[in-house]
């Protein structure tokens, strides 16, 4: 018998919301996360987040620093997956130079103490995360030279115009823009190459026929997010176009297993929260309460769809890698060795692409974008872990 009614994997917005709603309704809930503090990627280290305060009062138990694998299914009678998303990296010449990070990575580095005061920063890629990263970098004294948004200006303005439907978002966006006074925000351009001797020193930015150089000490790139579906796949949950397929109650194809947040579709904090709430309520047997949230969920899903189409990646971004550009960082595999491979399996077996510590989480998403095939199988553990953690305790 499980000690808990509900086990939640992931302590980001979706997992926290699910745990709160379930625990507040009397369920015994454990939240399992491999990070030292709750909040996930988005609320990392933010002390004043109301949901985290609410979580602390909810009665749910937090298990931190815990290696997560498919045995998590035995931790609760029901299981809610809220494993979130990671950044999508598209390879371009120079992307592996020191000083080049993801936009989420830059935010995480700054929050964990990286001093950026006086550093020249270029932020490039697509979507609202660029603004969030630029805002944070600037607030810590960085000189943000340019925010290069790949989506054409018309698409970005259209999206901003639609924000009135989502007042919370509009406010957030406006605050960001205010913070950013003085920062150059250019739509319809992208970084095509990062250059430097042993460290990024400048980037080449391109808009159509025109290309120019921007000097910088840091380049943060963000091309969007990829859902962390590995654990769901190991548990046998059906996927649909790369995301976990869920029904009205956020239930997956595996009985007793629910999924909420980015792994059902990239959509941001609010979609994650409402899906988490629905999953938590449904798993706790409060279907009627969950149903009252359906319209809010539908609204945030529409927002997510608009976000996706406004910031859809231009095809040119998938053609920036040259023959010698590294695609698989763990195993140092250049594009030339991957072109012409028929499948992820063949690429893996013949080039070691995806065989290193990331297990295809980074390069497998990149090859899907640039070569049309990507990581299609998951082997345990869901996340790299010490050998001792693979062993079952003798009592079990």
């Amino acid at each position: 018998m499980s000690a808990f009614d509900i086990a939640v994997v992931g302590a980001g917005p979706a997992g926290i919301a699910a745990a709160c709603r379930a625990a507040e309704n009397g369920a015994r809930v454990v939240v399992i996360d491999d990070n030292p503090a709750p909040g996930g990627q988005i609320w990392r280290g933010e002390k004043s987040e109301p949901w985290i305060e609410r979580f602390k009062r909810s009665g749910a138990v937090l298990e931190r620093d815990t290696a997560v694998d498919e045995r998590v299914r035995q931790r609760g009678a029901k299981l809610i997956l809220a494993t979130g998303a990671r950044e999508l990296f598209l390879p371009f010449p120079g992307w592996t130079l020191p000083g080049v990070t993801g936009v989420g990575g830059l935010q995480a580095l700054i929050k964990s103490g990286l001093a950026v005061k006086g550093m020249r920063v270029v932020i490039a890629g697509s979507g609202p995360l660029l603004l969030a990263a630029a805002s944070l970098a600037r607030s810590k004294g960085a000189v943000v030279r340019l925010v290069a948004e790949q989506a054409p200006g018309g698409r970005v303005t259209g999206f901003a115009g639609a924000l009135w439907r989502h007042p919370g978002k509009a406010l957030q966006g406006a605050e960001l823009i205010l913070t950013l006074i003085g920062v150059r925000y250019d739509a319809g351009c992208f970084v095509e190459e990062a250059c430097g001797e042993g460290q990024v020193e400048h980037v080449r930015v391109r808009r159509g026929e025109r290309a120019w150089e921007e000097k910088c000490d840091l380049l943060a790139v963000g091309f969007g997010l990829v859902p962390n579906t590995e654990l769901a796949a190991l548990l046998g949950c059906d996927l649909d176009s790369g995301f976990v397929r869920t029904g009205d109650w956020q239930q997956t194809s595996v009985p007793g297993v629910y999924a909420a947040g980015e792994l059902t579709g990239i959509g941001g904090v609010e979609k994650s929260l409402v899906e988490g709430e629905i999953a938590g309520l449904a798993a706790a047997g409060r279907e009627a309460d969950a149903e009252r949230l359906f319209s809010r969920r539908a609204s945030w899903k529409r927002f997510a769809a608009r976000l996706q189409s406004a910031f859809a990646l231009e095809p040119v971004l998938k053609k920036l890698a040259r023959e010698d550009t590294c695609v698989c960082r763990c195993e140092d595999v250049p594009l030339s060795e991957l072109k012409g491979r028929a499948s992820w399996r063949e690429a893996k077996l013949q080039t070691r692409c995806g065989m290193g510590s990331c297990q295809g989480r980074i390069c497998g998403a990149a090859t899907r974008e640039i070569l049309g095939w990507g990581a299609d199988s998951v082997r345990p553990p869901a996340f790299p872990t010490k050998v001792r953690n693979l062993i079952e305790s003798k009592s079990s």
């Binding site: 399996r345 063949e346 345990p380 050998v387 693979l390």
Partner: protein, 368 residues
């Protein structure tokens, strides 16, 4: 159709099928290989890639040593991706009884012309510092090695010039190899090199799958220098039935550590079996305590093609005119693939093999 039917149709593009294709093509035969998936993606990808001379029976010694000699010529022509690592095998003794076994083993190797060096406790600790203290000694067989088999299999296939066709064979008979989609592929000789699947294609072939687990870590250059195997390994490998685990750990050219081994009869699902995986890792810990703190990136399973007498089936299948077998290599298919290919080509072309072929002939199974 690409002209006339091939002289030889090989069913299975693993290391054994690829070696058969290579040797038959070298012998001037027209070869086609039919493979259900990516070449080298079955047991060839799942196994360790240990090239090891085994001395516990004369036929096993002949095939493994002969193959090792062929490998030593081949690897120098192969691309760097084959990750050839001349690491040797270190057989480890935990007590005096096993040390006596090591001495017998050394005498057997030396008597057959294979270098083998006895190590006392101190020499063992110097040779492999990650081993725990308190071990009695060991036997170092320096000419053994390790490599990455999928790249080797692909190289053999490509270099052979054989036509490689994607297709899932469902049955093999004198009339040809029947594909899932209904196509019938014909040839002068059809070689069943489908490994653990070979009995599915030809009921009556005495090959059963024997499941194994492996774990690979991140890169820890220097953690392990040799393929380290416990002297009790043969008890596990040759146990008639039941499940067993034994220490068999390999350093990869990348610095990664590959941890085995387990053997299960009757398990047909690909999923990890936690109890046996746990037993296997605890066994490794008994010898290499530090292994528990290495970070594992991947666990997987595979199926060995096992025969009742633990020797492979190489040659014509009695009761047929044109169907041959090249299967049943158990846990030694990477080692013995090249010699198998050489034997198949020798027998087809009427050449005299360098080693006696008789012990491996399928006729020994008494098939009507």
């Amino acid at each position: 159709m690409n002209g006339a039917a091939p002289d030889v149709l090989i069913v299975g593009g693993g290391i054994v099928g690829a070696a058969c294709a290579w040797e038959c093509s070298l012998g001037g035969l027209k070869v086609m290989v039919v493979e259900a998936d990516v070449p080298g993606s079955g047991a060839t990808a799942a196994g360790m890639g240990h090239i090891v001379a085994m001395e516990d029976s004369t036929p096993e010694f002949h095939l493994t040593r002969y193959s090792q000699i062929i490998w030593n010529e081949l690897v120098h022509e192969m691309p760097a991706g084959v990750e050839y690592l001349p690491c040797g095998t270190l057989w480890v003794a935990v007590d005096e009884e096993e040390m006596a076994g090591a001495r017998r083993k050394q005498a057997s190797y030396l008597g057959r012309g294979v270098p083998a060096e006895l190590l006392d406790a101190r020499q063992l600790a110097e040779a492999e510092p990650s081993l725990r203290s308190g071990l009695v000694g060991g036997l170092l067989v320096p000419e053994d090695s390790a490599l990455y088999p999928p790249v080797a299999a692909q190289w053999l296939l490509t270099q052979s010039g054989a036509e490689v066709r994607r297709g899932r064979v469902v049955s093999i008979s004198d009339s040809g190899a029947q594909l899932e989609d209904g196509t019938l592929l014909t040839a002068g000789i059809i070689v069943n090199a489908a490994g653990a699947m070979s009995s599915k294609l030809m009921p009556g072939v005495p090959v059963t799958p024997r499941k194994g687990h492996l774990v690979i870590t991140e890169r820890y250059p220097g953690f392990l220098r040799h393929q380290v195997v416990e002297l009790g390994y043969l008890k596990s490998a040759h146990a008639a039935g039941g499940d067993s685990v034994a220490l068999n750990v390999q350093p990869r050219a990348t610095g990664q550590v590959l941890i085995g081994s387990s053997r299960q009869h009757g398990a047909t699902h690909k999923e990890i079996d936690r109890p046996i995986l746990s037993a296997m890792l605890r066994r490794a810990e008994e010898y290499l305590p530090g292994i528990m703190d290495l970070v594992a990136v991947r666990c997987w399973t595979g199926f060995r093609a096992t025969t009742p007498d633990k020797l492979p089936l190489i040659g014509p299948w009695p009761g047929t005119q044109r169907v041959w077998l090249a299967t049943g290599h158990e846990g030694l298919g990477i080692t013995t693939g090249p010699a198998t290919g050489r034997l198949v080509a020798d027998l087809i072309l009427g050449r005299t093999p360098a080693i006696p072929a008789q012990p491996y002939l399928p006729a020994r199974c008494g098939h009507a």
